[in-house]
Amino acid sequence: MAEQRLAMRTQFPASAESLKPRLKKAPEFPILEKQNWLIHLHYIRKDYEACKDVIKEQLQETQGLCEYAIYVQALIFRLEGNIQESLELFQTCAVLSPQSADNLKQVARSLFLLGKHKAATEVYNEAAKLNQKDWEICHNLGVCYIYLKQLDKAQDQLHNALHLNRHDLTYIMLGKIHLLEGDLDKAIEIYKKAVEFSPENTELLTTLGLLYLQLGIYQKAFEHLGNALTYDPTNYKAILAAGSMMQTHGDFDVALTKYRIVACAVPESPPLWNNIGMCFFGKKKYVAAISCLKRANYLAPFDWKILYNLGLVHLTLQQYASAFHFLSAAISFQPKVGELYMLLAATALSFFVAVALTNLDDTENARRAYAEAVRLDKCNPLVNLNYAVLLYNQGEERGALAQYQEMEKKVNLLKDSSSLEFDPEVSEEHPSSQSHHLFLWSQSPLWKRNQLKHQHK
């Protein structure tokens, strides 16, 4: 009863259409866009199941004419990874309304995701004809050109996009182009502008910080990384980079607390465990250092830096056989890049191998390793010194003398150019590289031991 009465209430008087007697046959056509709003609301709430139900209903009712329903179905397909299906649906949309730049944009986007960058640029250009003031088209065209390795064109398009409307993403892409071209200064310039435009974007801040780190401008690097961490205290990249800087300054405890956050978020990151290991090494907790480094090595068995650090720690623990093992593995994985710090690392590696071999009484190989280290080295007197000691112990006094003189020459040279100064080097993705070099030059007890040996004589 109640139900009936309520139903009665909803009879609306003023409606003109409902009063008109139904005109014989000709059925009314449903409004195509009747439930577009509902589809959209479900879609933005990521309630894709409900969304698909409504789409199905709507398409059935309109016999596949509802463009927006097809459009959203295609978007959902793409999110689910069915890019080919989504592409086909977007093409259907483009047929239903050929004047819409949006449909073309989505077709191009799907092509882009399928890796057909050439085809995508063509469709984007088509869309650009329909809508000239869309930053998204310019931006995506730029990204396509990056993949097609046409960096000049890409730059033009990205600058166009920035001109139309500034977006963080465009800045990031533009910065990437400069990095691909190897132009650090220009990249920094772009990222600086980007940070000015959106000062709270942690990704921009972190990237800028890392770039400064790469250039050795530590003050600014730390500033930007710190800013990134204020806005997002769990930013993995920023913590790792900032942590490695703290390690450089000997703040091992602070660095370790920061690493805990990363260990929670990304427990399987090799650089993280490498850095934690080197923290413990700095704190002289060698067993902990080894177990962390071994985990890092387990996670990234081909990373020569981790092997290098493992060798270093074992050398310190006087486990020369293991040290030799790790160091020689590091040498065979080490990329042959002509950069300065790679050279330094290679020198150090051969030198350490030599030290390990000396201690293992493998004099023949030790001599070869020293010879290699001397060949690679340009400024470190200790290499020559140790080589001289070895030769002297072998009874080759003439060779020893030659090395000793070489060493003296280097020492004088160093005295002229003030103190021991080494090029601090950092790779972008591997903030750990810095820390171990530091250990290498100043903290390794081996250097001191060898010096002492010499003094005894």
């Binding site: 609306f12 709430r45 427990p267």
Partner: protein, 593 residues
């Protein structure tokens, strides 16, 4: 032990949060069967008796049974079916004179249904859109039978390709038809005038000429054909019409229609457009590069939730002020206004079952709910000034009351370092054995190194020998010669006593075909019989895989198996190019027989 202590601390925390909570749990019904959006929730004093009711435009389970529900306290006061799904609900005062009871407007399809005292009062339908004149002309011709269906179709297709005004449903349907159905369709429909109708996507209210709380308000409608309409509250005529570049999804209005107002419309293309009183087109535009999921104005700041799980604050000129990242997807947003304390904040219902309350970018409070909240509103309900009403994904209804003593302070949520910082590092432990081995290495490192090196050299020597041997006798399945780059692999199928042996031979050179190869099988003739132990290989085209099949009969019934050797030879040469050893399986067929 550890587990017990941790559960203790958990319950302790729960208690303390209960005590310090700002909210009283007034009502929770997980089976309330309310499925709706924030836009369809309204609190209003519908009867003018000071007792505020909750109006819900309910979509029904699965969007199947649209209903208008009015709740008083925890109970449903009235419930009436709706002709179509409600897109938005609004309450507003229609006229000045007493009694000042607000009217209720429900937008659904192309109509706005207006109720007074919960009785149907008026139905407003959106005006028809002007049809495309060319299209109109064509159908008029069809009506007078001056045009045949095929030409009609061609002409209509031409219009669809380039016209500004889209075609009507009738024409679109016609374009889909097969040739045979066209005639009948034209005859059936030609007498009708073509019509284009749009639907309402969103609705809100705008004060007419006074800023008072109980002033007369206009309805503002957003439509599917990218327009905004402002309706007169008494006559329901269109007072103003504005057009947008995309379809509006959420609206936010401030000011008075007759004086000055600002209108923000979040649209389906991911942009938010700002309009003023005099502007027919948007004055400013915020490009979000994501879809907006909610739009709320807090004082002068527009707060937008995006589907990339973040909340942004913008000035009314479109400058971004701040961004806050959410831990989960935002499902719905609404305004929290505590007039007594002059507080305005944003509530956001998240997919992880939290409702977060923010003032600008500072988190004020987190309300945890048993299910994800899909719609919420805050305001006077019943006689309680500060009530939070939430409905959940499963159709539940939660009502919470803000304690009168509760004060929102910044940092009420998370502050300080992230909790992960206090966690202990999960370090791999080292055993006693490891330490012992370390000591041993220190003592006998030299010996270990020498043994290791000697063994390593031995291993390398053996590997090199085996490799050299394989190369010499062409034992490898891949030929090393530059002239005949070949790959061979064999598959044995069957249970026995008859097996099928398939050799897959592939020419791996880039361009040169190989001719004149022979295949030879070497096997124990007492154990196996092959129809042909020696045959010629056809010409091998580069890149193709050639399966060469042959049958092998196992002769022994003792369950023994042997190796069959396959040699690939070049005509006129005795050394094989490559060879394969096939370990034949034991014949199971005989045993079974």
């Amino acid at each position: 032990m550890a587990a017990a202590s941790s559960s203790d601390s958990d319950s302790g925390r729960a208690e303390s949060s209960e005590a310090s909570s700002k909210w009283l749990d007034a009502h929770y019904d997980p089976m309330a069967n309310i499925h709706t959006f924030s836009a369809c929730l309204q609190l209003a004093d519908l009867h003018g008796d000071g007792e505020y009711k909750l109006v819900v435009g309910d979509l029904g389970p699965g969007g199947q049974q649209p209903r208008l529900k009015v709740l008083k306290g925890p109970t449903v006061l009235s419930e009436s079916p709706l002709p179509a799904l409600p897109a938005a609900a609004a309450t507003f005062l229609m006229e000045q004179h007493e009694p000042r009871t607000p009217a209720l407007a429900l937008a659904s399809g192309p109509c706005v249904y207006v109720y007074k005292n919960l009785r149907p009062y008026f139905k407003f339908s959106l005006p028809q859109l002007p049809p495309n004149p060319l299209e109109q002309d064509l159908w008029n011709q069809a009506k007078e039978d001056r045009i045949d269906p095929l030409t009609l179709k061609e002409m209509l297709e031409g219009i669809r390709g380039k016209a500004e005004v889209p075609l009507s449903v009738q024409s679109l349907r016609f374009l889909q038809l097969e040739l045979s159905e066209m005639e009948a369709f034209v005859n059936q429909h030609k007498s009708k005038s073509i019509r284009r109708q749009t639907v309402i996507t969103t609705m809100t209210t705008l004060k007419k000429n006074l800023a008072d709380e109980d002033a007369v308000s206009c309805l503002v409608l957003g439509t599917e054909n990218k327009e905004l309409l402002v309706l007169d509250p008494e006559a329901f005529t269109v007072l103003a019409k504005m057009s947008l570049p995309s379809v509006p999804v959420f609206l936010e209005v401030s000011g008075q229609f007759d004086v000055e107002f600002r209108l923000a419309a979040a649209c389906r293309n991911g942009n938010i457009y700002m309009l003023r009183r005099d502007s027919k087109r948007p004055k400013y535009c915020i490009e979000l590069s994501a879809q907006p999921v909610g739009l709320v104005r807090v004082h002068k700041v527009l707060v937008v939730g995006s589907n990339q799980d973040s909340l942004h604050g913008f000035t009314h000129k479109g400058k971004r002020l701040w961004t806050v990242q959410m831990p989960a997807a935002i499902l719905t947003m609404n305004l929290l206004e505590q007039r007594s304390r002059g507080l305005q904040a944003v509530m956001a219902g998240l997919a992880n079952g939290e409702v977060r309350i923010y003032r600008d970018k500072a988190l004020l409070s987190i309300v945890r709910t048993p299910d994800a909240v899909t719609s919420l509103c805050f305001g006077r309900y019943g006689r309680e000034d500060h009530t939070l009403i939430m409905t959940t994904r499963g159709g539940g209804l939660i009502i919470k009351i803000l304690k009168r003593t509760a004060v929102f302070v910044e940092g009420g949520g998370e502050a300080g370092p992230p909790p992960a910082q206090a966690m202990k590092l999960n370090m791999p432990r080292k055993t006693r054995l490891y330490v012992d081995q370390t000591l041993r290495e220190r003592e006998a490192g030299t010996a270990m190194h020498r043994t290791f090196q000697a063994d390593l050299y031995l291993l390398r020597l053996r590997a090199a020998r085996a490799y050299a041997q394989a190369l010499e006798s062409s034992l490898s399945p891949v030929s090393a010669t530059a002239r005949e780059p070949l790959k061979l692999h064999a598959v044995v199928q069957g249970l026995g006593p008859t097996f099928k042996l398939t050799l897959h031979l592939q020419n791996t050179s880039t361009a040169r075909p190989i001719l004149g190869l022979l295949v030879c099988f070497l096997y124990n003739e007492g154990l196996y019989a092959l129809p042909r132990a020696f045959f010629k290989v056809p010409l091998l085209v580069p890149g193709l895989n050639y399966p060469l099949e042959t049958f092998v009969e196992s002769l022994s019934d003792k369950g023994v198996s042997d190796i069959i050797r396959v040699l690939v030879l070049r005509e006129g040469q005795s050394a094989p190019l490559l060879s394969a050893h096939i370990n034949m399986p034991v014949s199971e067929g005989l045993a079974a027989a």
